[in-house]
Amino acid sequence: MSEQPALAVATHGLTKTFGAQVVVDNLDLVVPYGAVYGFLGPNGSGKTTTIRMILGLIEPTAGDRELLGHDRPIAALPRIGALVEGPAFHPYLSGRANLVRLDAVDATADPRTTRRRVDAALDRVGLMAAAAKTYRQYSLGMRQRLAIAAALLAPRDLLVLDEPTNGLDPQGTREVRNLIASLAADGATVVVSSHLLSEIEQICSHLGVISAGTMVAQGSVEEIRARQQTTAVVHTADPEQAARVLSEQGLTQIESGRDTARGVADDDHPPEQLVAALVAAGVGVRGFALERPSLEDLFVELTGEGFDVAH
């Protein structure tokens, strides 16, 4: 048992079908404790459905899930703050009254500290000034913040945030990112879904990329990056000779252009060694670079591009 790293969230063969449509297909989610797990996929790829299953809102058609060491979601939920498919509150109650309502229904919450915790949560998302306004009057950004505040009403070990930056302006997006980073710094594990890699890339330690209900890539950001091929590019007046040297060094997929030569390098080829070999072979090196596709490129490659939703 101590060999396996304990996981905050683990699913095994998680599957959900709605009628004939397989919306989530045999998903194995692996979220280590302490991770900021970016759950990425285009609209309609099954992120929200997966999160609903994790939280016990819907029953999986097949497979099982483990949350903070429990296999029944409700046992783990008191330690989980959740945002699912956007904010939802009572429109005629104020932001504060809505939070008090959520605290009142929580059998594990201490009513003596409600006020303090509600204030702290409102403060953390910057809603103090608008706390007395009815939810109806809130802008989408304020609603999103209130939903995050609700997830922070009690100390949490795990936060599951489904598209928390939806509807936020760039400033709000940055604030949410910083908030997530600070929650992670406090020791919480965070699962954050998005259809935009750029919105969460900076804060994620792990990524899971889902496309049409299937996991197409998962692991730490480093692992996923490492899986991408690195291309060594030599700028030179003598590309033929440079290509030969790269080939001798064991690089693959060698190409030579008018004034460049390139080849796919792996970890056995430190750049300094390649440059030294080129120089030793008399290649006049004008420039040398290791090129690696961005995560964005990878994301697009994995999930496809364009405006069409998955189904």
């Binding site: 101590s2 302490g34 939280l55 409700i74 939920l77 008191p78 904010p87 509150f89 429109p91 730490s220």
Partner: protein, 335 residues
């Protein structure tokens, strides 16, 4: 059975997941989670090679909390009473006995003599009973139908249901509290009519010892007791309708649809109750037993009709409550 139907217990709340001991030992020396929020992905992934376990304890929750099981119910009632539409509905319920009393005072007896309102002109105590007789047929069931539409379908429609469930609140607990609040709502509705009726009747006709339909006289204490019996009986009747409403509310995500469905149920029962050929069915209809509350005007108080009614109400409540439970505890919450 859904895994979501049980409330978490204290022990579950405070139980930590099994910690691999090696991990615990490593935690001190290895880099824990970084405290700088502005990290590049590389920094984060390297500092999280040995992800730190959550360091915060939840011991401040649950175990030390002074349990207030009534908090959910109180919050629910505040929600119901605070809603403008419900306040307006209560005003309508209260208006009926007032209008009846004023009409009786201004235009006098209808001349036919035996109806409650004619009798009420001798004694204001009869105004609330006359108003209940009028409102139990339509207005009160409509009020319950509206509240039960809000109960589950309304929360589902708003999306707040998913956030109740992730708090978490057990599904059985949600149903229980929602049902209890519907019954309290019914009591408030019936009680409002009685209070408004007593005030209007008292002001216009005065309150005196009640002359029963059997010709005997009841002192004020006994009269109040009779009123309370009537209130309790009709609250139970509405509680049966509320169970139907709760069930319907778990079937749809449209609160209006649930409200209309409950009203159709009540109206169909009323129509069936009016068809003589279906006399064999009548004892089984909620609506056939509503007027039994008027027995409080007889002396000595005959209980058999009301007891039969209560039996039917209880049966409906149990059957529909269990149906609601079977449905709700296995339902996928997809909005």
């Amino acid at each position: 059975m859904s895994p979501t139907e049980h409330d978490p217990t204290d022990s579950e709340v405070s139980t930590r997941p099994p910690r691999p001991s090696s991990n615990l030992l490593n935690q001190g020396s290895d880099a824990g989670p970084s405290s700088t929020p502005d990290l590049s992905p590389q920094d984060l992934s390297s500092s999280k090679q040995e992800p730190a376990r959550p360091t915060r304890s939840l011991s401040t929750r649950g175990t030390s909390a002074s349990k207030r099981p009534g908090r959910f119910l109180a919050s629910e009632l505040r929600l119901i009473i605070g809603r403008r539409r419900n306040q307006a509905g209560l005003l309508v319920l209260a208006a009926v006995p007032i209008i009846m009393a004023i009409a009786g005072a201004v235009w006098g007896s209808s001349g036919r003599g035996a109806d409650l309102m004619s009798l009420a002109q001798g004694n204001g105590v009869l105004v609330p009973l006359a108003a209940l007789g009028v409102e139990i047929a339509m207005f009160l069931p409509l009020a319950i139908a509206m509240l039960s539409g809000d109960a589950i379908a309304g929360e589902a429609n708003q999306g707040t249901l998913r956030y109740l469930l992730t708090v978490p609140v057990g599904r059985t607990r949600i149903l229980a509290v929602k049902y209890l609040s519907l019954c309290i709502g019914a009591l408030i509705g019936v009680g409002t009519i009685v209070v408004a009726g007593l005030i209007a009747g008292g002001l216009l006709f005065g309150l005196g010892p009640l002359t029963t339909l059997s010709g005997t006289q009841l002192d004020l204490g006994n009269t109040v007791m009779r009123l309370l019996v009537g209130v309790a009986y009709l609250t139970c009747a509405l509680g049966a309708i509320a169970a139907v409403g709760l069930f319907v509310s778990t079937l749809t995500e449209q609160p209006i649809a649930a409200t209309i469905a409950v009203m159709i149920f009540v109206i169909v029962c009323t129509i069936l109750g009016a068809i003589e050929q279906l006399a064999w069915l009548h004892p089984w209809l909620i609506t056939s037993h509503l007027m039994a509350f008027a027995d409080v005007l007889r002396d000595p108080l005959p209980l058999d009709n009301m007891l039969r009614g209560l039996g039917i109400f209880a049966s409906y409540a149990v059957v529909f409550w269990l149906s609601a439970w079977a449905r709700f505890t296995t339902k996928d919450i997809t909005n």
